[in-house]
């Protein structure tokens, strides 16, 4: 499937709100709320696929871009409508981990662990299971995968569901680290594009590496550059990488 999902970051926001409300209403720790946000995200993703994405998969590229852009606008403005632009946060904090002269913030350690676990699990899924192999086959060549008896519709449904469930579960991790608003989704969409382009399309471990590289570049840059400029670094890196390697650092056409 070749759908660039402009609404990806807005599903992160949805996950953040889900974890926030679980915490506020029933005191569920955001780490535990992963048990909800993962299946919830899958259901959301599957539903969006069936009602919206499926119908533009075969259209010219323009249409899925517009479609997901509209979806992004719809999600963020509905969240605004429902919850106002007020910032929200979960009053939960972790003691920093201090070892070997390095201080690691507790929340960051938890989120990073989750990222590694998710990336490894996703890789194993894509490499070892029949379904995972089918997804890769469709990614590589939709037509011949269909000839081999793979149903591209079902594959699309499942891969979109998995993508969105990861996005919403990231929302659960975000609330450990920062306060958020309905409008933060766009930033995450851009970040995830930068990271995927750096790490290579279709590679979960590549995404992990891409994320780490971006984080390191931003932090090193912050030693010399004013903090106000650092958010742009990722996009400058993105544009440069796209120019040098139009299909991503590790990806190929």
């Amino acid at each position: 499937m070749k759908v660039a999902n402009i609404a990806h970051g807005d599903f992160v926001t949805i996950g953040a709100y889900a974890s926030y409300w679980l915490f506020v209403l029933s005191g569920v720790n955001p780490i535990l709320s992963l048990l909800f946000t993962i299946p919830f995200g899958f259901a959301l993703g599957a539903a969006s696929y069936l009602t919206l994405v499926r119908r533009v998969v075969d259209s010219p590229e323009l249409m899925p871009l517009f479609m997901t852009f509209g979806l992004s606008t719809l999600i963020s403005s509905l969240l605004l409508y429902l919850y106002s632009p007020t910032q929200r946060g979960v009053p939960i904090s972790f003691a920093p981990l201090d070892g070997l002269g390095v201080i690691l913030p507790g929340g960051v350690a938890i989120a990073a662990t989750y990222a590694v676990v998710a990336a490894v699990a996703l890789r194993l899924f894509l490499q070892k299971t029949f379904l995972g192999k089918a997804i890769r086959a469709v990614m590589e060549n939709r037509a011949s995968a269909t000839l081999m008896g793979i149903n591209p519709g079902r594959v699309g449904l499942i891969s979109f569901g998995i993508g969105i469930s990861i996005a919403t579960s990231v929302g659960s991790m975000i609330v450990l680290l920062q306060s958020f608003t309905p409008l933060m989704g766009g930033d995450f969409t851009l970040l995830s594009f930068v990271i995927v382009v750096l790490g290579g399309l279709g590679s979960p471990i590549g995404a992990l590496v891409g994320g780490v590289v971006l984080g390191v570049v931003e932090n090193i840059a912050s030693l010399w550059l004013n903090a106000a400029v650092t958010p742009a670094i990722g996009f400058v890196v993105l544009v440069i990488v796209l120019i040098v390697r139009p299909y991503g650092l590790m990806g190929s056409k």
Binding site: I103, Q178, A227, V229
Partner: protein, 387 residues
């Protein structure tokens, strides 16, 4: 009928503050009309007020269109500015070109009064004043060593203006008392400030002065806690003034300072009789009863703006903007919101800021001592003992 036109940011970046401001003004209008309106002596009768309000979506372009509409179509008597400096700056040239009085309640940037407008009057303390009481309070600690100060603030006109004025004030008024060891602005939409805060921690700063808006202020505190950095005091703009600050951060919010234009527990009694017959506590009670939430200072300064207009209309006996604007030059009085007095440019010079601190989950006024409800807790307790 006295028509008062305005746009408010009811959606977009400033939506929350815009709604608060509008609520404050509507409460004022309701109170005025319930008491029979404002007496205009040149007309020999009292007239009710009517607010004409549009949503500007926090967008200066829309502000400009809407204020032109208010002046040319709705023919309003007076204008009230939208919340926030960039929006006020967009409304000001139109008000000035049409010679209609524009009262600013939420546009604090000093730049508003540096453009030689004749019809723009501020009710709130300008940006250059925000950090002044915090600095005075820190000097009052009488520490033998100079304090190491890290300045870390949002990259928006308001925050930049506040912090530049703060730096100037520290250097010119109290030479040798402060060392500025770090001075950077940040993008308020960033999601993580750990890198910069780690650098600040390495400078051994005693005090962090800065902040910008809501989300960034909360994230900064989360980040400071997460790296185990323990500055003696942190003073942030805007975010800690809001009740959400404690709801979202819990005990991490304790000890954090913020400058404030007004607090519900403030009592300016003893200076002069209240104008408008309303105290801070009465205002807060009425507001909570009507809108089912605590007013913050945005609501209070908006209500007070109504009072200022009311007083100037009564004292001048006119609905002519030029006459009322002239009258404001000679006004000098107190409302529940504090002192009102302006310089000829229209900038507010009477009103003063207070300092608040979160203490055990309650927001206390700690400076100036004459109106304080609690003592300044300094230095902040170590993180280990707090969670």
């Amino acid at each position: 009928m006295i028509t008062i036109g305005m746009s408010m940011p009811l959606t977009g970046t400033f939506a929350e503050d815009g709604q608060m401001s509008l609520d404050g003004l509507q409460l004022w209008a309701q109170n005025v009309n319930a008491s029979g309106g404002i007496y205009v002596s040149s007309l020999h009768r009292s007239l009710p007020v009517k607010l004409i309000v549009y949503d500007d979506q926090s967008n200066p372009t829309r502000v400009a269109t809407l204020y032109q509409q208010l002046v040319t179509q709705d023919n309003v008597n007076f204008l009230i500015a939208p919340y926030a400096s960039p929006l006020t700056l967009a409304a000001a040239p139109i008000a000035d070109a049409h010679h209609i009085l524009l009262l600013s309640h939420g546009g604090a940037s000093d730049a508003i009064w540096q453009k030689n407008y004749s019809y723009v009057v501020g009710v709130l303390s300008p940006a250059s004043q925000y950090m002044i009481p915090v600095i005075n309070m820190l000097v009052n600690l009488n520490s033998s060593q100079p304090l190491n100060v890290a300045m870390f603030y949002g990259n928006d006109p308001f925050s930049i203006f506040v912090m530049n004025a703060a730096a100037r004030y520290m250097q010119t008024q109290f030479p040798g008392k402060f060392n500025i060891v770090f001075n950077q602005s940040y993008q308020e939409t960033a999601t993580d400030y750990t890198a910069q805060l780690t650098q600040i921690a390495a400078t051994n700063a005693d005090v962090i002065l800065g902040g910008g808006h809501f989300t960034d202020g909360e994230t900064i505190m989360k980040n400071i806690q997460s790296i185990g950095y323990n500055p003696k005091a942190v003073a942030l703009l805007v975010a800690p003034d809001d009740v959400h600050f404690y709801q979202d951060l819990g005990t991490v919010a304790n000890f954090v300072l913020a400058p404030s234009q007004w607090e519900a527990n403030l009592n300016y009694a003893g200076f002069s009789p209240y104008f408008g017959n309303i105290t801070s506590q009465q205002f807060a009670t009425q507001f909570t009863g009507r809108f089912n939430m605590q007013p913050n200072y945005e609501a209070a300064e908006a209500y007070a703006t109504g009072l200022v207009l009311e007083k100037a209309i009564i004292d001048s006996g006119s609905l002519n903007s030029t006459v009322v604007r002239q009258q404001l030059n000679s006004e000098n009085f107190y409302t529940f919101y504090g002192h009102f007095q302006i310089a000829p440019s229209g900038i507010q010079i009477g009103h003063t800021m207070v300092v608040v601190q979160w203490q055990n989950g309650a927001k206390q006024t700690i400076w100036p001592t004459s109106v304080a409800t609690a003592q300044f807790e300094y230095p902040a307790a170590p993180w280990a003992g707090r969670t």
